[in-house]
Amino acid sequence: MPIFFVNKVRVDIAAGVPGDTPLLWILRDSLNLTGTKYGCGKALCGACTVLIEGQPTRSCQVPLSSIKLGTDVTTIEGLKTREALALQAAWEKLDVPQCGYCQSGQLMSAAALLAKNRHPSDADIDNAMAGNICRCATYPRIRAAIKDAGKSLG
């Protein structure tokens, strides 16, 4: 029975759960963690981004069978780092979301970026965020909010 951790809660997967099931659908359908979104199913849009051992990862492309014993998965529901809280505050302050559907994924990617680099340049932001599509084109505000959050962290 594979065991891993989602937002620090232990998850035991029983034998017989199909190994091809992507982590995204374990999170959404089995664990009811619906903040992580389905957008494309092909790692093209970033809506399903979670942190696996701190690395932003498209959960639609992580089959259950590939998850190593004890792996740490963080979803938007468990994102509680200082960087994350600063980002969420900036997201609110600048009214970043429109439809909002992509924003969990955007925040996961942004949190991973700020964890490594509190004062990213525009090019750093492009590199970290270009995998996350927003059809409402909230991009200028995402960029501003990442910088704002970085600034607030000192």
């Binding site: 937002n7 979104k37 909002g100 270009a130 927003c134």
Partner: protein
């Protein structure tokens, strides 16, 4: 990594969606079992968001009586003010803007406000701009609600004041309301304290509205009511609804439009986990399973035999050839001023241009989906509903129910851009067909979530129609425009739908808007239309007719200016002398962009240029000045957009800015990349790899300037889209001299 560690309870408590402890045991963990991989997990039924969202009534009963002065708000004993919003929140800010109107006239504190989506009701929640029906679109939410929601707030305020006046035995005129507190001298009361008494006061027929100079919310910054939920993953979309016993359906749609199922090929499902039912639906075969992945695995394993006799067999090239043929013959006349043909014949300079626009997918981030449950004598629907009463009626008809027996629970939509307002109720009826099929198998009462994959969303329809425009214009010897003749060819969006009544004299107004009402003063002007019937499902797409008419008209007017040797802004200014809204944005955008001043040089000697376009849609005029850089290899970037908007009174200026930014980004996706091509009756693109959309590194810097106005508000959801593509094309022409007449835009060979 420590694979041996146990889950710490304390940390688990930090997780908002954490499961409740299932017993007295020392460890809390989640167990995912094979039988339950789709939908069931031990100890996880703690939160049912959809039900929580609809349990408000029950909660309020428990808390005490509420004051419900009208259909648009209610005030609870705890003084919270719940605004019932009749329009869908799909990103454009309805859940902030309409509550702002109520809060303003009620003099509520913003923190008191709560928001709830209205149930389907064409009488109570009619769209006053284009009803009788409840629906969101045409950038009408603020425009049609502006008076109505203010009246609702003002009526409630008058009743609270009347109750306070009676309690304190003072004249109503002597009572003040500010920031949610009712007061007279030193006496104060909250809304909640007065709610019961206020409910007994007569409802004023036409309560007095505030003088705009007294506004405290309207015209200022009010934070979005949904920003927190959408920044923490807690906002609930259709995709997130979970009901007890719910199953998930994924549908196999035909490889070409209109093909029918000959054999469902269910053999392929043998031995697959989680499959519960297979249901044939009008446009394919639904596999109903415990969860999405089981359903999709099943859907992909079906070995369907299709009857393609009725299917669409053509390709985009065939469609274009037919459009070109039709463009050679006169169409239904949409506008005819003077004698365009005669004036053109006599013109000193003539321009003759043809424009090609491809089919486009909406590609909202949330693919189409719908949750539905059919019980013995009623149905319930959970959906981000853009056409509440149209869908309600269609579902009722399909299921043999009265419309009142179909309850719709309104949820956030993860974008729509028009897609969720389908006149044929396509995907909603697909969901209804599935539960009807289950009922026929004796399985009534099972909630089903229909989920379209991204590929379904991109390939099964519906699309912005492809169009072909033929345009001729003439200048006299002094460079004045003397003739304009435009022919538009493309499928009608309304034809064959329940809204076909809007077609008058062969003119679908959605095909010609932006062209038939060309704002330029041209004495001899002719616009006509061909609407061939083609078996590709089509639908409105953010800004509808203006998605193509703004492009042809604004690039040709630019070309006329160049031919006349005049500045593009000055040329437009002369022709727009009688169009104050257009003029206001033209001047503001040009001024803020530094029109006429030299541009900073490009990287490595790359050429740079500016272009402008101005267009009115849904009553709102928008002008955009674009700066581009063109590299030696003919690739280009859109660097900066200066946008001016005149939407009347800007109720929430920051939301107006956000909609311009968003409209520009959405329009740029289409201008630079958007193209759905049809081959042998089916769509060639499938996902964001081959239907490319704008990413953050491609988004230009955007500045938005709002023209101050005291006129009634007009829409902002769509009008930011139309000018961007022609402004980019005009900038590219300024650099290269090449006039691009085919979308998406490319300078390459």
């Amino acid at each position: 990594m420590n694979p041996m560690r146990m889950s710490p309870l304390q940390s688990a408590a930090d997780t908002p969606a954490r499961p409740p402890a299932t017993g007295p045991g020392r460890r809390v963990f989640l167990k995912v079992t094979a039988a339950a991989a789709g939908g069931l997990t031990l100890g996880i039924f703690s939160v049912d968001a959809a039900q929580a969202a609809t349990a408000k009534a029950a909660r309020s009963v428990a808390a005490g009586p509420e004051f419900t002065p009208n259909a648009f708000l209610r005030i609870a004993p705890d003084s919270s003010v719940t605004v019932i919003v009749k329009h869908l929140e799909m990103g454009q800010g309805t859940y902030t803007g309409l509550p702002t109107l109520v809060a303003e006239e009620l003099d509520a504190a913003w923190s008191q406000l709560r928001v709830e989506g209205a149930p389907a009701d064409a009488k109570l929640y009619n769209n006053l701009q284009w009803g009788p029906m409840q629906g969101t679109g045409g950038s009408s939410s603020m425009a049609n609600s502006f008076e109505q929601y203010r009246q609702a707030g003002a009526a409630a305020r008058a009743m609270l004041v009347a109750a306070a006046a009676a309690r304190w035995k003072v004249p109503a005129e002597a009572i003040a309301v500010k920031n949610g507190v009712v007061s007279h001298g030193g006496r104060k009361a909250s809304f909640g304290e007065l709610a019961t008494a206020a409910a007994k006061e007569p409802v004023p027929a036409s309560p007095k509205l505030k003088d705009p100079k007294d506004f405290v919310y309207i015209g200022r910054h009010v934070p979005r009511s949904d920003a927190r939920a959408k920044s923490t993953g807690t906002a609930i979309y259709t995709q997130d609804v979970k009901l007890p016993g719910m199953l998930t359906a994924v549908v196999a749609h035909p490889p070409r439009f209109g093909a029918k199922v000959k054999n469902i090929g269910a053999d392929g499902l043998k031995g697959l986990p989680g499959i519960r039912f297979v249901v044939e639906v009008p446009n394919g075969v639904a596999v109903v399973a415990n969860g999405f992945w089981d359903a999709k695995r099943g859907r992909d394993a079906l070995k369907i035999e299709w009857d393609e006799a009725t299917g669409f067999k053509y390709s985009s090239s065939d469609v274009l050839a037919e459009f070109k043929r039709l463009a050679g013959t006169p169409g239904a006349v949409a506008r005819n001023d003077g004698d365009a043909a005669g004036a053109l014949a006599r013109a000193a300079h003539k321009l003759d241009a043809a424009y090609e626009f491809p089919y486009l997918a909406h590609a909202a981030m949330e693919p189409m989906n719908c949750v539905i449950r059919l019980d013995a004598d009623r149905a319930e629907v959970w959906n981000g509903e853009q056409f509440q009463t149209v869908d309600q009626g269609a579902i009722a008809k399909a299921l043999g129910l009265e419309p009142a027996k179909v309850t719709i629970h309104q949820l956030y939509a993860g974008g729509s851009f028009g897609r969720r307002a389908n006149p044929n109720s396509d995907y909603v009826l697909e969901a209804a067909a599935i539960v009807k099929g289950l009922a026929a198998q004796g399985k009534r009462g099972i909630p089903v979530k229909l989920v379209w994959t991204r590929e379904d969303d991109m390939q099964a329809g519906y699309f912005r129609p492809a169009y072909y425009h033929s345009l001729q214009a003439g200048l006299d010897a002094d460079g004045n425009v003397v003739a304009w003749q435009q022919r538009i060819v493309g499928q009608s969006i309304l034809d064959g739908t329940p809204m076909a009544g809007m077609i008058k004299n062969g003119i679908d107004p959605t095909s010609v808007e932006g062209a038939a009402n060309l704002p330029y003063a041209i004495a001899n002007l002719h616009v006509d239309l061909h609407s061939p019937q083609i078996g590709v499902p089509v639908q409105w797409w953010r800004s509808v007719g203006s998605t193509h008419t703004a492009y042809s008209t604004e690039t040709l007017i630019d070309e006329l200016a160049a031919t006349a040797g005049k500045d593009p802004v000055a040329f437009r200014r002369t022709l727009l002398a009688r169009q104050p809204r257009h003029l206001s944005v033209l001047e503001l955008a040009a001024q803020k962009a530094g029109w006429g001043e030299p541009l900073a040089p490009g990287r490595n000697g790359a050429k740079r240029g500016r272009g402008i376009a101005v267009h009115e849609s849904f009553g709102t005029a928008v002008a955009q000045v674009v700066e581009v850089t063109v590299d030696a290899d003919k690739t280009f970037t859109v660097d900066r957009v200066v946008c001016a908007v005149n939407c009347g009174l800007a109720v929430n200026p920051d939301v107006v800015r956000a909609q311009m930014e968003g409209g520009i980004g959405y329009g740029l996706s289409a201008a630079l990349y958007g193209e759905i091509t049809i081959k042998d009756g089916g769509v060639e693109q499938s996902n964001f790899n081959d239907y490319r959309v704008l990413r953050i590194n491609e988004m230009p810097a955007v500045e938005v300037h709002i023209v101050p106005s005291a006129e009634a508000p007009t829409g902002v959801g769509e009008p930011g889209v139309p000018p961007i593509a022609p402004a980019v094309a005009n900038a590219l022409a300024a650099v290269t001299g090449t006039r691009l007449r085919k979308l998406p835009l490319t300078l390459g060979a």
